[in-house]
């Protein structure tokens, strides 16, 4: 019985932390954001050297073959450093899609370059996970796609896209396929890239090697756990920053961290966020070890963590006073990262409704 991280996992956390501190300092994050770049090539390359791109890709395809808990630790570190890098789609959802639903030849063709970080994959599953807005939806027929997909993750400069259609299937499309129109979507979070894809009779490679419905379920579950972990990382960093700032900033002749109101704000943040860590670990672990529990646990993990995340983002900003509201300190990068995580792939309200449905609590 061990509910905790292995030595290897702690080392992974450690080396990731050091790496990101070095290659993704705030100034660099700001640079990427100011230039509206899709991601930081430096960070992506550095992560690639640690094997992040292939973390979930089986070893026989050149990956690390690690568990989703390892991926969650990476997501947490990325959130902690507001790292401007692809991850959720390209390193988590796409490998799962190919492993679960790709044919052997599709796996052989795409998994090795994904694992090596040579190609980036965007994923379009928003309509399945969050519901349909603005008449989005992609239909597949005779290997051709039509319609549009919104909120494509890791969209910017993606080489391939994996698209969920309205019928439960999964398809792979080249980033430069004829008939494909790409429209960047600007969100509050300038550290990650979102976009819209419009399809006019676009040629697609359907994933035919497994149960696409199951693969989609597992992609969405995994991505939700990643977004929760990203918020955990961003939130814990905001708490740390608030505690640090409160220990330095003086008002009325004393550091503000000695005022009980400020202390209690910090204590409340920590005591709300810390249990989320345990829930995320469990959810991530279940993806490999107890897959029948994962959908429920992923829904719980993301809804609780992103709700707490909103509270932390706001409260940590308040602890920083006016400085927290400026662009100068850059605290808002974490605030916005948490804001985006909350809404992507299922809002808390929607996830709780799904959780109720899974448990048979909703009358047909």
């Amino acid at each position: 019985m061990e509910f905790g991280l292995s030595e290897d996992q702690r080392m992974l956390q450690d080396s990731l932390g050091k790496l990101l501190e070095k290659c993704a300092p705030l100034d660099h994050v700001r640079e990427i954001a100011d230039q509206s770049k899709a991601y930081s090539a430096t960070v992506w390359q550095a992560l690639g050297e640690l094997g992040v791109a292939g973390i979930l890709v089986p070893e026989e395809h050149g990956g690390m073959g690690q568990t989703l808990l390892d991926a969650a630790l990476i997501a947490e570190a990325l959130g902690h450093h507001v790292a401007p890098s692809p991850f959720v789609a390209s390193c988590v959802m796409a490998p799962i899609a190919l492993v679960e639903a790709g044919s052997p030849s599709q796996q052989a063709k795409y998994l090795p370059p994904l694992a090596a970080g040579e190609i980036i994959a965007g994923v379009a599953l928003s309509e399945a996970a969050s519901g349909v807005r603005d008449k989005a939806g992609v239909t597949a027929s005779n290997g051709r796609l039509n319609g549009k997909a919104l909120f494509v993750i890791d969209y910017g400069d993606a080489d391939i896209f994996i698209i969920g259609d309205t019928g439960g299937g999964l398809h792979l499309v080249a980033g430069d396929a004829p008939g494909l129109t790409k429209i960047a979507l600007t969100s509050i979070d300038a550290t990650r890239s979102l976009g819209e894809l419009q399809f006019e009779n676009v040629e697609a490679e359907t994933l035919t090697g497994g149960d696409a419905a199951k693969a989609r379920r597992r992609m969405i579950d995994a991505a939700r756990i990643m977004l929760a972990a990203d918020t955990l990382g961003a939130g814990s960093r905001m708490i740390a920053k608030a505690v640090d700032y409160a220990g330095e900033r003086k008002q009325f002749g004393r550091v503000i961290g000695s005022f009980q109101a400020v202390k209690h704000m910090c204590a409340e943040m920590a005591s709300e966020l810390e249990p989320c860590r345990s829930l995320i670990w469990y959810a991530a672990h279940s993806h490999d070890a107890m897959p029948e529990e994962t959908s429920l646990m992923a829904a719980h993990a993301k809804s609780l963590t992103t709700d707490v995340g909103r509270f932390v983002a706001r409260t940590a900003t308040e602890v920083h006073g006016g400085m927290g509201f400026t662009d100068l300190l850059g605290l808002h990068f974490w605030f916005k990262r948490i804001g985006l995580n909350r809404q992507l792939l299922g809002s808390p309200e929607r996830l709780r409704q799904e959780a109720a449905q899974m448990q048979g609590w909703v009358a047909a």
Partner: protein, 397 residues
Amino acid sequence: MDLAYGPEYEAFREEVRGFISTHGDKAPQRFGVARPSDELIAWQKLLIEHGLTARTIPKQYGGYGAEPDILKSRIIAEEFTKAGLPSGIANQGISMFVPTLLELGTEAQKQEWISRTLHGEVIWCQGYSEPGSGSDLASLQTKATEDGDDFIINGQKIWTSTAASADWIFCLVRTEPDKPKHAGISYLIFSMKTPGIEVRPLKTMTGHAEFNEVFFTDVRVPKSQIVAGRGQGWFVANATLKHERGMLGDPNQAGTRLKQIIDLMHEEMLDGERLIDNPLFRDRLTQLQSRVLAMQFHGLRLLTASLKGEDPGIARLIVKLQGCEINHQLAALAIDALGEIGVLYGDSPHLRAHGSWQHRYMFDLGLIIGGGTAQIQKNIIAERGLGMPREPKVAKA
């Protein structure tokens, strides 16, 4: 209880409506920019002449010279809001500096500044907060050293909203460094063109530079440009801040936003269903409606207290805390109801309402912090409103 205004006031309302139908087409279409346009200046002049702004400011200072009448002011505001017309120039010079000068300025200062300020000829900015002095404003460090008939000012101000376009500044500086912190401050006014002043835009989390930092390096200001005497700055500043605090947490603004969300939830569709049909969002909407209505009626209660010259006590002290929080929660509901669309910003496709909900969500957080953080507000409510003990003095370490 009588929610009617009575015949005298309804007659006044008709007058206002008459003005609007006669002159409404002269109102500038775009407003709200820091520097008033010629059109807006002309409009302001017309309004003053008809007693529709600067109404109670004496004629000799360029105002209309009417007796104070809160209900008439309210009727003017109601009618202008209903007609969607700008109710004249709105800036810190008019809302904060003019009342301060009326209360505490010399006759010469009043003659020099009030009319020109009211007529949009002089634009002011406010130099109060400093990077090191937020909640503890009285700890401000900007120094004014004596040099003959002048002060030499060195230091830095922050959160100065119209600094880039302002002509003059009303500014708190430390003139007596040896006195206790509240007693060493003076209130100076000087031109923003004085050599040694640098204005840098201050970008906030919204991505916009709604404020500025202002740096002073050996800025020379005649000693005569002081309001209410040396060491009186803290007293003057508090007179000014009274006017600012009244403006934050306006329940009618929340009412407008509530209406916008009600519309949004009727229009937006998710999976082919209107958002208003989602019981969870609808419940939050109704809950916020309760709070907005309560604060609107609360506003009527405060208005009545003003009319009677009564001190509404704690009822007044809670307005900023409640009002800003409700606004922030309204923005949060709109974002949540919009789901993934709610995170879009800037000039994104699919953006709703020009991204204003996200902007408000962030800017309102700034308002919760600014003008007295929520923590300071709670201290004030507890100490002044409930008579609880002040924070005890800390022992010297």
